[in-house]
């Protein structure tokens, strides 16, 4: 039995003033970004009287002549090749609708999945009727963005044995801008759990995946299987670490997660839920990162 209450008397009032000054090129909607002459109008901007203005609050980014404003907080904006985690919301004819934290639901065509057992073959009418058996509402999948439609919705595919239905584990939702795009988003961490960092800000933490199991594409789920206590503890600690890094605005990739996990070992898992403990660990992670990059 543990109940802990605090009152804000002793809590230090966090002033963000110091951090704001670090961020250069911050603009708010309506703010002037540049003269449009000589620049190309990118995402998050619009032109008035030959001037480029920001339409979102965020950071100005410039690639050659293209000027964009990247919003600080946004829904997921997909790019081809991104690894994402999504939740099936609807099974339709020959396709599933998938919720991926983007503006519109994404689409997973029946033709762009590997069937159970990793078979690659033409999909038959039976497969169409069996769609709900493979994936039904609420199921989580990992997938890759295959195509972007004009309206901004995404088409996904799972034609790789790494992708497919996800089994037992924990989903942590963070801001998509906190997930660093890297070569691989699948990590088997040395602490004994596997992590999929979806570019859409959905992070999946589960027990270590061994190579044989991956070949089923995750369709064969053993729901009676009980994950042992030690692995659960690792998963719980990892998910708390990911949440605390995200709430303290630390970029998420394998290095930050591993170092947060190592630093957190001095605390009990449930202590990580406390705001001050979280802030301290995030600070240490930042410091460690700074020394390593030097």
């Amino acid at each position: 039995m543990s109940v802990e209450m605090t009152c804000p008397l002793d809590a230090t009032t966090a002033s963000g003033s110091g951090r704001v000054s670090e961020l250069k090129n911050m603009v708010t909607p309506g703010g002037r970004v540049a003269a449009s002459a000589g620049f190309m109008r990118g995402h998050g901007t619009y032109t008035i009287d030959g001037d480029l203005h920001a339409s979102v609050a965020g950071v100005v980014e410039q690639v050659n002549k293209l000027v964009c404003v990247k919003p600080v907080k946004s829904r997921y904006i997909g790019e081809i090749g991104d690894v994402v985690i999504g939740r099936i919301t609807e099974a339709q004819q020959k396709r599933w609708k998938v919720e991926t934290n983007s503006r519109l639901d994404s689409v997973l065509m029946l033709s762009s999945v590997n069937l159970p057992g990793g078979e690659l073959r033409r999909k038959s009418l039976e497969d169409e009727l069996m769609m709900r058996e493979y994936l039904h509402e609420g199921d989580l999948i990992s997938a890759e963005v295959q195509q972007l439609f004009h309206d901004g919705s995404l088409s996904l595919h799972t034609r790789n044995l790494r992708y497919g239905k996800l089994s037992q584990g924990v989903l942590v939702k963070v801001n998509p801008s906190l997930v660093k795009r890297r070569k691989t988003h699948f990590h088997n961490l040395p602490c004994g759990a596997s992590v999929i960092l979806g570019c859409n800000g959905y992070i999946w933490i589960s027990r270590l995946v061994n190579e044989q199991e991956t070949h089923t594409g995750g369709y064969a789920q053993n729901l009676d299987e009980v994950v042992p206590l030690e692995e659960r503890q690792v998963i719980a600690r990892l998910s708390n670490c990911v949440s605390l890094l995200a709430s303290n605005r630390v970029l998420l990739y394998d290095t930050t997660i591993i170092s947060a996990f190592d630093i957190s070992l001095q605390y009990e898992i449930k202590e990580l839920l406390k705001v001050d403990v979280g802030a301290e660990i995030a600070l240490e992670v930042r410091a460690k990162l700074a020394t390593e990059t030097q």
């Binding site: 802990e4 605090t6 009152c7 008397l9 924990v170 009980v226 659960r232 839920l273 406390k274």
Partner: protein, 300 residues
């Protein structure tokens, strides 16, 4: 957006609870960190804000002088609870969902306080025909699971914070009577005695285990839950002031006993912690008043 879970996630949560480790590392009877503030609203007699992980409630206490119901055998004031689940808290509350939740929490609070032990309502009597009616308004700012417990914590803290003015009724010749107030209402005021005011503990049955302070995901996995009202009065010891079963499941008689026992234990811990915090707050009342007057309390 509604909380959806895949079968596998559900199984993972249920197994975890049964193994004694929840998805955030807590044990079955652990609460998430709670933060309590009082005296946050200047337009009320007393107020409190409770944050339980991402669940956030704001409670204000107001009072009006009202006629005493002449059908009552004993003279006493009244206490009424109102809960507002705005769509701000979670999009789930837009429309009917919010109303149902609000209705549930407000009736649970009303019923938990509707006994002679919780508050001495006879102290609210002002004259032979008039008494205070105390209104406790709960606004749910954000809902991250276990709303009922947070609302009850807020209600008790706000009631402890409330100051009622000392009034005298001057009987005049006609039916109308005059209410007299002293000049300095702040210092000529009194506070309610909330030592025996109940807190609510929701005990969730997940798998074969009993769990307090469920997260939103855990609430989805709950088939049946008991809301237990727990008070401890110095005279009578532990008291249960409310039991209410919710959800679409059923329970074995033995597990009802276990759940109530767990609820009482958790309620006692909560009560002790809240008392400690309220004493702490009371001690630093003066400098805190300055702090609170600073703008932007919702941002912290």
């Amino acid at each position: 957006m509604e909380v959806h879970l895949s079968d596998a996630e559900r199984v993972f949560i249920v197994h975890g609870v049964q193994e004694g480790i929840r998805n955030d590392g807590r044990g079955a009877s652990d609460y998430r960190p709670i933060r309590v503030e009082t005296g946050v609203l200047s337009t009320t007699l007393g107020s409190a804000r409770v944050r339980l992980a991402s669940t956030d409630v704001l409670v204000g206490v107001k009072a009006e002088i009202d006629e005493i119901d002449c059908k009552q055998t004993e003279k006493k004031g009244r206490i009424r609870f109102f809960v507002d689940c705005s769509a701000n808290a979670t999009p789930l509350f837009a429309g009917k969902g919010g109303e149902e939740m609000a209705e549930f929490v407000s009736t649970a609070l009303t019923d938990a306080y509707s006994n002679s032990m919780a508050l001495d309502l006879s102290k609210l009597v002002v004259s032979t025909t008039k008494a205070w009616t105390v209104f406790v308004d709960v606004v749910v700012l954000e809902c991250g699971g276990n709303l009922t417990d947070a609302a009850a914590l807020g209600a008790k803290a706000a009631l402890a914070d409330a100051r009622l003015a000392n009034v005298r009724i001057k009987a005049s010749d006609s039916e109308k009577s005059e209410i007299e107030l002293t000049d300095d209402a702040y210092f000529d005021s009194w506070q309610l005695d909330v030592t025996a005011a109940p807190l609510l503990v929701t005990v969730n049955k997940i798998g074969w285990s009993n769990v307090v302070d469920a997260s939103l995901q855990e609430e989805v996995c709950t088939k049946s839950a008991l809301v237990v009202g727990v008070a401890s009065s110095p005279a009578k010891g532990d008291l249960v002031t409310l039991v209410r079963q919710t959800g679409r499941g059923s329970l074995e008689p033995d597990s009802v006993d276990e759940m109530i026992a767990l609820g009482v234990r958790a309620g006692n811990s909560l009560n002790r912690e809240l008392d400690r915090i309220l004493v702490d707050i009371g001690r630093t009342q003066m400098n805190r008043n300055e702090l609170v007057s600073a703008a932007g309390f919702l941002s912290s």
